[in-house]
């Protein structure tokens, strides 16, 4: 399988749910018969997975928020790890926002 590029849009899989765990002061990703405990970065990434942002946009948002550089690899690895467990799915890149090319005039 091709590795998804930075333009794909990650989304939390329907079977999984982000949940605040007040007792342990963290967020967790819950799924059938299991959970992933999230650190602050993991939480931040998943909260940006809103089904509209691409991986590149998520990286950009994190850079702005934390002033961190060189985080692409970490973000991708984190998301790929969850995707391998079926907890994150990737959608193809969103179509460009400018109007599509009009169909060619009849000859």
């Amino acid at each position: 399988m091709n590795r998804p590029g930075p333009a794909v849009v990650p989304r939390i899989a329907p079977k999984a749910r982000l949940q605040r765990d007040e007792v342990r002061d963290r967020e967790v990703l819950l799924y059938p018969e299991g959970l992933v405990a999230l650190n602050e970065t993991g939480s931040a990434i998943l909260n940006l997975c809103d089904g509209t942002r691409s991986v590149a946009e998520i990286v950009q948002a994190l850079k702005q928020r934390y002033g961190a550089e060189g985080i692409e690899g970490d973000v991708t690895a984190f998301l790929d790890g969850l995707a391998a467990k079926g907890l994150v799915t990737y959608a193809p890149p969103a179509p460009p926002s400018y109007p599509p090319t009009p169909s060619a005039p009849p000859r």
Partner: protein, 374 residues
């Protein structure tokens, strides 16, 4: 420091239309001890207290949880609390409308058992014609967008069907199939001779599992619950006693696992008498085997004690007669021969081509007779 629980198994009722001979419910489920089921408000309070303690995963089980007419209310409460809820059901007479109502209430995940890969054998093992309902319910589950786990308990009579079971789960679009080799507690312990597989059966099934895992990748998760009598080391039962997990029984007793009620040397507190927090943190039953101070040799000096926590207390009680000794499944246990003898008896019977012993179906009359005997 007392750890915080993550899992609550809510056994809403011990009533069940199925009669599986390996049921993990207590043998005396129909007796006085379990007679008076918790009311709706009592369960809701248990869920709230569990959530405040740190529980995030809720199993709604039984018996057959669908027999509780308040199931939708319980699911809705769990959902409001932020619990991830799984319905663990036989799906007997489960309609699409009921399942849709449960979805509406916020149910997260559905696990439906099946007893074999075809109707004839499945209905025979269940003791109740239920295969058709199950197949219909699998489809409803997918149509409504639930993640689906197919659960099959494996034993002597159905292990040859493992490949067909996996193909069935695949064709249904399930997320997971749990191939759960029989763990010998409750009715399964009572019917151990009839259910015990042979080594050859287990080896053949395990080969199929490995092959199918390679073929399916992450399309279908295949969970293989180890047949611990055939292993060298015990399972890390419940991730350790009183460490992450608790079961609340239909009548409100709280157990460190769903088999622990059989340990007659422990007294279990009831949510009707005590807050869940006290039961988890303070009660004698939850503290008796918490941590490793209770461990005798060979566990005490064993490097594996942080891996398997000395194995299963219920198994030590059932097989060796003492909940405080090393799980007799462990090859280092002085009582391992008790496990070897049970395994060897099954091998001898198979080698002599004897029909397996007859099992007793899990049913109320049999249960009441057992309860009366004490």
């Amino acid at each position: 420091m007392v750890p915080k629980p993550l899992w609550l198994l809510a056994e809403l009722t011990y009533r069940c239309p199925l009669q599986c001979p390996y049921c993990s419910n207590p043998l005396d489920f129909a007796g006085a001890r379990f007679k008076r089921e918790l009311a709706t408000e009592e369960w809701c309070r248990v869920f709230r207290e569990a959530r405040a303690l740190g529980v995030l995963q809720l199993g709604l089980s039984g018996g057959e949880p669908l027999l509780r007419p308040d199931l939708e209310t319980l699911v809705a409460t769990a959902h409001e609390l932020g619990l991830y809820s799984s319905l663990i059901t036989s799906a007997y007479r489960l309609s699409k409308d009921r399942l849709a109502a449960l979805k509406q209430a916020g149910l997260d995940h559905v696990q439906i058992s099946v007893q074999a890969a075809d109707a004839g054998l499945s209905d025979h093992i269940a003791g109740t014609a239920s295969y058709r309902d199950k197949i219909a319910a699998y489809h409803y589950t997918r149509e409504l967008g639930f993640p689906l786990t197919v659960n099959v308990v494996l034993h002597r009579t159905n292990l040859h069907q493992v490949e067909a079971m996996i193909r069935l789960a695949e064709s249904l679009g399930a997320e997971r199939i749990e191939l759960a080799n029989t763990q010998f507690y409750g009715w399964a312990f009572h019917n151990r001779d009839a259910l015990m597989p042979t080594k050859a059966q287990l080896d053949a099934a395990w080969e199929v599992v490995q092959r199918e895992r390679a073929r399916l990748g992450n399309k279908l998760e295949i969970v293989w619950v180890l047949p611990d009598y055939h292993e060298q080391y015990p399972k890390p039962c419940m991730g350790g006693w009183g460490r992450a997990y608790m079961t609340v029984t239909p009548g409100g007793e709280v157990w460190p696992c769903h088999a622990a009620g059989r340990i007659t040397t422990l007294e279990f507190a009831n949510v009707r008498d005590h807050p869940l927090e006290w039961i988890w943190s303070e009660s004698e039953a939850f503290n008796r085997f918490r941590g490793d101070a209770w461990m005798p040799e060979p566990c005490r000096s064993c490097p594996r004690k942080t891996v398997d926590f000395g194995g299963c207390r219920c198994q030590a009680f059932l097989v060796a007669g003492d909940a405080g000794v090393t799980d007799p499944v462990c090859s280092l246990s002085p009582q391992r021969r008790l496990v070897d003898e049970a395994v060897a008896a099954a091998e001898r019977a198979a080698a002599a081509a004897e029909a397996p012993a007859e099992w007793a179906y899990r049913a109320a009359p049999a249960s009441r007779a057992i309860a009366a005997k004490g």
